[in-house]
């Protein structure tokens, strides 16, 4: 039986695990901006969006959306208890000034040395950078949440980037639907894998060397 990876709720749970201790966490466009649906009830976490909302909660019930309350993906959000609205330039003081414990960002590619590519593709005539570069240099912890491979199966974790750089050596952790991977000075260390996945299968989806944490238990194909 082939492995399908974690469900979205299980995936979010892995993110919450690697963010343990973080209080103020920015969520980037795409997959990360959906995390409040799963994590907003956990105490001690306030989600930041670069538009100036500190405390973005899950999508509000139908009919209760407020036009001026949106997340990085321009989707409607509610407000968490303890939320605050700050001026936009102050929002980037929060980002660059080292006030964020973590950011969770999507990515096109991450290299084995933690280089991040998430704003443009090779040869693109136009790209949108948004707050990606500010977040990558500003947050204490940069956690990438992305699918392990592209739709065509090509790896997104690579030895060296083909895609334009967002920031060098900034990524601390990659959590895909198949594995939670820590960046160490020596390379990539797999802390956890989705059930049913073999080390060989994970390696075949990854274009960079992987090591496995000592407590890692690989579950063989059933």
């Amino acid at each position: 039986m082939s492995a399908h990876g974690w469900s979205n709720a299980e995936w979010a749970d892995r993110i919450a695990g690697v963010l343990a201790g973080a209080r103020y966490v920015n969520l980037g466009v795409g997959l990360p901006s959906k995390l409040p649906q799963f994590l907003a009830d956990r105490p001690g976490l306030l989600f930041h969006c670069e538009n100036g909302i500190l405390g973005t909660g899950p999508e509000p019930p139908e009919g209760e959306a407020v036009a001026e309350l949106i997340d990085a993906s321009s989707r409607p959000v509610s407000l968490q208890a303890g939320a605050a609205i700050v001026p936009f330039d102050v929002s980037f003081s929060i980002i660059r000034g080292g006030h964020l414990d973590a950011t969770v960002l999507g990515a096109y590619q991450v290299s084995s040395t933690g280089d991040l590519a998430n704003w443009s593709s090779p040869g693109a005539s136009v790209a949108g950078v948004g707050g990606a570069m500010d977040l990558a240099v500003g947050a204490h912890q940069v956690c990438v949440m992305m699918h392990h491979t592209n739709r065509d199966g090509t790896p997104k974790i690579v030895d060296a980037l083909d895609f334009p750089l967002t920031a060098p050596a900034c990524v601390d952790r990659i959590v895909t639907e198949f594995a939670s991977i820590r960046m160490e000075s020596g390379g990539l260390v797999v802390d956890e894998m989705a059930p049913g996945l073999t080390r060989e299968a994970l390696r075949s989806m990854t274009a960079a060397p992987l090591e496995f944490a000592h407590d890692q238990v690989a579950v063989a194909d059933r």
Binding site: C49, E50, N51, G52, I53, V66, A67, E68, L69, I70, S74, I85, P87, F88, D89, S91, F92, I95, R96, S120, S125, V126, A127, G128, V129, G130, G131, A132, M133, D134, V137, G138, P164, L165, T166, A167, P168
Partner: protein, 236 residues
């Protein structure tokens, strides 16, 4: 709290009361070749009636500074690209799927694009409104967007210099205003608007409502000192 009101009815020579004008009147001040700051973020806080009026006005070759270049709303900056009014766009996130007029203008040629990281863009505008020449930031250092910029190692980090940015005119949006030009924003709709209000020679605020009494002073987000004219959104 009691607010003191002047009893001398001769009135000042130059009033701190700001004119309330139509969107069409407001954009008459925008000359060909002007640098126009346009507020809003992700389709929220966008001065839609001012943009509509500018798209219909007799002007051209504008440089527009705006976070987005169209997000699919019927009255957003996409109108300026569709009308051929823009020569240069200074922007952070122009790649919204609905930014079709922008992409068409870019493909046809004659449109310059300056892509700026979002935090750098707002800080360049903040400097422009604050009498500062610019700043160093680690954002974009070592990346394609950092190429050609002056570099320094500060605090042990490679940083690049970013120059201040000002506009001839700023078109901003606010939730509520009063006749003194004081403004309040709603939630995230202040994005870029509050900063752009400080950084242009002529600042026009499109407000959702105009309070008949002065806004409570401690609830003013942008003070009237920054605002030159008000446009009351008609809601049409």
């Amino acid at each position: 709290m009691e607010i003191h009101r002047p009893t001398d009815d001769r009135g000042p020579v130059a009033s701190v009361l700001k004119p309330v004008v139509t969107a069409e009147e407001a954009v008459l001040s925008i000359l060909p070749g002007a640098v126009v700051l346009v507020g809003g973020w992700g389709g929220v806080g966008v001065p839609g009636e001012l943009i509509s009026a500018l798209a219909a006005a007799d002007t051209s070759s504008l440089t527009v500074v705006s976070n987005n270049c169209g997000t699919g709303h019927p009255r957003d900056i996409g109108l300026l690209f569709a009308a051929g009014k823009v020569r240069k766009a200074v922007t952070s996130f122009p790649t919204h799927p609905a930014a079709e007029p922008f992409r068409r203008a870019l493909a046809e040629g004659g449109l310059d694009l300056e892509l700026v990281p979002q935090g750098t863009l707002v800080e360049r505008i903040r400097c422009g409104g604050s009498g500062l020449g610019g700043f160093f930031t680690p954002t974009s250092a070592g990346t394609p967007l950092g190429e050609g910029k002056e570099e320094r190692v500060l605090d042990g980090r490679l940083q690049v210099f970013e120059p201040a940015l000002r506009g001839d005119v700023a078109l901003i949006h606010a939730w509520e205003g009063d006749e003194y030009g004081n403004l309040r924003f709603r939630y995230a709709a202040g994005a870029f608007n509050s900063t752009m209000a400080t950084a242009a020679d002529f600042v026009i605020a499109e407000v959702e409502s105009l309070s008949s009494t002065p806004l409570p002073p401690d609830q003013v987000d942008t003070a009237g000192i920054f605002v030159d004219a008000l446009v009351l959104r008609s809601g049409s």
